[in-house]
Symmetry: C2
Subunit: 717 residues, 2 copies
Amino acid sequence: MLILFIVPTSIGFSQTPDLMPLPANYTLTEQKLEINSLFNIEIVGAADTSIYREASRFFQRLSERTGIFFKSWIVTSKNKINTKGLLIKIKSKGEIVLGMDESYQLNVGQEQITIDANETVGAIRALETLLQLITSDEKGYYFKGIIVRDQPRFPWRGLLISQPYHFMPMDVIKRTLDAMAAVKMNVLHFYISDDQGYRIESKVYPRLHQVASEGLYFTHEQVREMIEYAHQRGIRIVPEIDVPGHSTAMIYAYPHLASVDRDYALQDHWGVFDPTLDPTKASTYSFLDSLLTEVASLFPDQYFHIGGDENTGRDWKRNPAIQAFMKENGFKSTLALQNYFNRKIQAILQRNRKIAIGWDEVLMKEVNAKEAKQYFLDGQYNKLIETDVPKDMVIQSWRGIEALLSSAKNGYKSILSKGYYIDLVQPASYHYLTDPIPFRNEVIIPDSEANFDRFESDIIKKIQQGEKLLSAEEEKLILGGEATMWTEHVSAETFDSRVWPRTTAIAERLWSPATIRNVDDMYRRMDVVSVQLESLGLTHIKNRDMMLRRLLGKEDVSSFSNLVQYVEPVQGYRRNRADNFTRFSPYSLMADIAVPDQRAVRILSRQLLDSSLLYDSSQLDNVEALFLRWQYDAGQIKKDAEQIPALYDFIAHAHSLEALSFIGLDAIQKFKLKSAKSKFLNPQRLGKLKEAQKEVGYTELKLVEPIKQFIQLLGLQ
Amino acid sequence: MLILFIVPTSIGFSQTPDLMPLPANYTLTEQKLEINSLFNIEIVGAADTSIYREASRFFQRLSERTGIFFKSWIVTSKNKINTKGLLIKIKSKGEIVLGMDESYQLNVGQEQITIDANETVGAIRALETLLQLITSDEKGYYFKGIIVRDQPRFPWRGLLISQPYHFMPMDVIKRTLDAMAAVKMNVLHFYISDDQGYRIESKVYPRLHQVASEGLYFTHEQVREMIEYAHQRGIRIVPEIDVPGHSTAMIYAYPHLASVDRDYALQDHWGVFDPTLDPTKASTYSFLDSLLTEVASLFPDQYFHIGGDENTGRDWKRNPAIQAFMKENGFKSTLALQNYFNRKIQAILQRNRKIAIGWDEVLMKEVNAKEAKQYFLDGQYNKLIETDVPKDMVIQSWRGIEALLSSAKNGYKSILSKGYYIDLVQPASYHYLTDPIPFRNEVIIPDSEANFDRFESDIIKKIQQGEKLLSAEEEKLILGGEATMWTEHVSAETFDSRVWPRTTAIAERLWSPATIRNVDDMYRRMDVVSVQLESLGLTHIKNRDMMLRRLLGKEDVSSFSNLVQYVEPVQGYRRNRADNFTRFSPYSLMADIAVPDQRAVRILSRQLLDSSLLYDSSQLDNVEALFLRWQYDAGQIKKDAEQIPALYDFIAHAHSLEALSFIGLDAIQKFKLKSAKSKFLNPQRLGKLKEAQKEVGYTELKLVEPIKQFIQLLGLQ
């Protein structure tokens, strides 16, 4: 059988170098440093030993990318530059802590490359920039000439990984750290405990890992290995033990901690559940004292996350002793009781010389919507928050900018996560345009799924009216942001494709100047970096066909692969709707093979919107061939999937693919015949378009909009 | 640009079920057990806890493969079968040791599946068989009805991984163990020490890992993790510390062990080197006593490999004190001195209650070729071996069947590795037809690169004359075989594609009855299992395009991918020829992206040899379209690779691809015109064919033979 084969159109533009995140300042030069087998690396100054390991890793990656044979990859203090090479100068070791100096200068000249950094970590960042500058022409490989003066906009550029939902093993964590380092992120927020499990070894309370992990946990040794791996890459690891809610696993292992006496089991489903630690008993605090002290000693970072989110309060209301305790102490709400609990926890952390972080519930007061709005309009920000939250507590804002604003206005440091929920599989552009400091009139706030935010629109209005809501000092309290990968709907196989490459957009938002906001250019660079990330072991591209092969049971999956590149998982919390997903669901189906923000859809949209189609017939031939290929693929899918139930959802989309193909081909024919331009979108065709937009198996085929635009471009209606 | 697209022809035949290794006995039935969400697993009897973890892993894999939602994957002793399900009955726990009982019975009936096993490990093997029986039709998924009575032919079915050349990290080891378990292999031979590095932590001699590993080693904790992981899957781990040769790393860390006083450094290159432990000093033995005792206590297996291969003897000859020692003790050869050394090492292992294994040098005497042949012909096998090698030593035969025969004839147990050197990237069929007991007239011994074997042809002659060289008792001394992955020319990225799927053929050779030797059927089943192995995380298929993307720097690599599926790395030791490969070479180039024994070449050969091409014009159209596609791919490659030096080797093959395409198209035209059949292979065309066979970048394009056969099929000369 013969079928037309289409050569994809590539539309290139190149305003900026292929760097991501873009440096704060850079100047491209005409120089270039040619790379040959004599290239070497010399390190001088008071560097930490991690730079030698990172320089060695750099050397290996350089060799693997270019195929150049070097004498050795291993960089030691004995390495000297003889001819061409890289000279790294570091003033002081530095430590991997909040506020470390990540600035660097990088000069690529004709004969030498120099990296100057105040601290080791700056040089580590510079190496990643340099790797992105490898280029080649027919003569060989070279580094592009450039002068870079770079430093991050925010000191906190994080990624949260929740371990209790789906456990991510060591290899996933390590390659994630590699990828984070590649785009200069510096905090791994390591979320340990929730209703579904407790994921690190505890020597003081061993039932936590023995009973409440089902065998899926990291030993102390492995945690140390992970931290060392992260530190070598200039990444901090901040642990979170979420209390007093989200604590079923802890209670399952140690039932005396519970607020309500009932049979507990690890939660299999996703959501918000009632089990809560009893905040009135001394034994709860002595337990947490021992446990948090152990965890605090395992993680050297100065910051420690205590959660504090989504306590339903229901179990506290169910327990008469807790009710009596509240009355006795004058706590009018469960939030006030939680605040009391938080202060005790914070005291434990203080004894361990840790600074507490909490989700925004730990700061925000229970104020009704009307009052809240009035306080906001009047500038009475202190009325919006609890009065006695310790001033050094850091607030992680996840529900909306209300919390971010209130914390800054009241002198609290904060981190933004709202807008960076990558688990909701939204487009990178949305995350990219979400700024950690949205309170300035030059920054556009994109629409988003509002969570609990009660006066976002009022804030936007004020900004649009030119009001500067935060002073420069207040702005400095916003430390940065964190992408959150809540792992309900990912497996170790799909984790990478849910995190990368979209998180590179957040990495740039948090590193590069606020003014760098060109979405098209961001996507262009993201596509380049995405391929580079694969060399770190990331599976975000290569697992697509692997997962198709598993369901099909054979190696050739090209038609399915072609289709699924236009399919995206449904966004937001729509997958939680039916509540049929649990820890034991197969995350190996179409919704898992499809990835968010498909590159192929972006390319197709550009191709079908290109006005040169109107006069360049070869371009139009390409589109025609593509539509013919869709028909072939649809036929192939229907045939191959016929006896394979796990693929039935693909058949539904294949029907749509076929229908859209016919509409597209009809449109081309009409356009070529220059026949009547109206009545093309007749009810039958409109019906097909509507049908093709229907959700199937928690996914959507993203072809209807491009086809509609194409029809419009051709002047058909 | 429009290009013809070709649909690959699939030629199916199905004599045997899709099982690999094929069971010793099986009967297919007409029954089937439908799988739905109520499917459950119940375990009864005196099982080891590992079966619960393996049953849970089975459950998860079943779910991911079928997309069926089960309530839970976790199998505990509380699980009961209500409706349809799997009942596992185990008589006794058993231990993971040589000779464990791996037999099992598996009955898949309409309502229930039963697994009966004497020991836990038998049930673990049965679960892997069952997973290969998943099938589906339009009504849903089911297990095919079958009655299996299965047990392995050999008790030792191993895979050697050498860690010193290229270090394979934990994730590679774990997924390798998963894959081994999937095809019922049961020994990981863990090769620790060589001239290039020492790869596990030593608490007694810490410089071994601190100095001689360059940071690439496993801690004791990690070794234990690995052993536990292996045991859960019914796999033993046998360590090897190779002495007295191959010991540069040990000497580099502890120079007093050396036979010659010189400056030592870790070896970067591959090969056989002189540095050797001094066998005359007491300090050498006290060192080895402490070290081997430590390693022996870390690895619970009863067997311990002490290497003993490729001692050049040169350093012993260079040292006058050693020469004097030899004279004094009447050792006439360095082999005799090594034999003395071996006995002392064996005594250390005996104190640790371990049985020593050595490469065949530890047994074989230095006998000249003529004498050896005479001894062999006269049946004086005892003259071929050293006299005082302890009788419980196990011999690993790597140089030829001479050693295998001699050891069996003299009552030594042995393991065959010659013929299973998968690092030499030979076809699976060669390994498949290599039998651990080649001394029977019904077994065909394939040609191979002879190593040191001095009378292989004589052995073959005797067998062909109908002589039965080994008695049944002697045959029993051959414990099995081991595939060897010497990691000179692999990286963690290419390891899987050099080991899998070819090693499945060796797994079958060692498990299934000797009479199962149909190569075509083996390949058919290997292709099925190959895809299943991917679910275990194996990268043997998916890393091809990933590595291409790295060199190309973009996502679309289809033309390169199409070409490289016809390219194989050069076989044997041809890559060692130029001696320019070291530990620090880029193993990311064409020779690494190409994989051995390409499936696409097999498929193409079948397609171009199919006589239906002669009368079915649509089949011939397919071939024509394929050749056109080759032209397109060649053009694309030449364009894309123009400015990318690491891809230049691809351009050379692209020229050949283009030339072959033209020859193929010409042949079709000639055939269609029914013109003169002679003079097709004129000097120009023959020149092109020859040119296309030339080695490029340590690879060969495997298209010339299929094209020649095609020309012949069409009746052209």
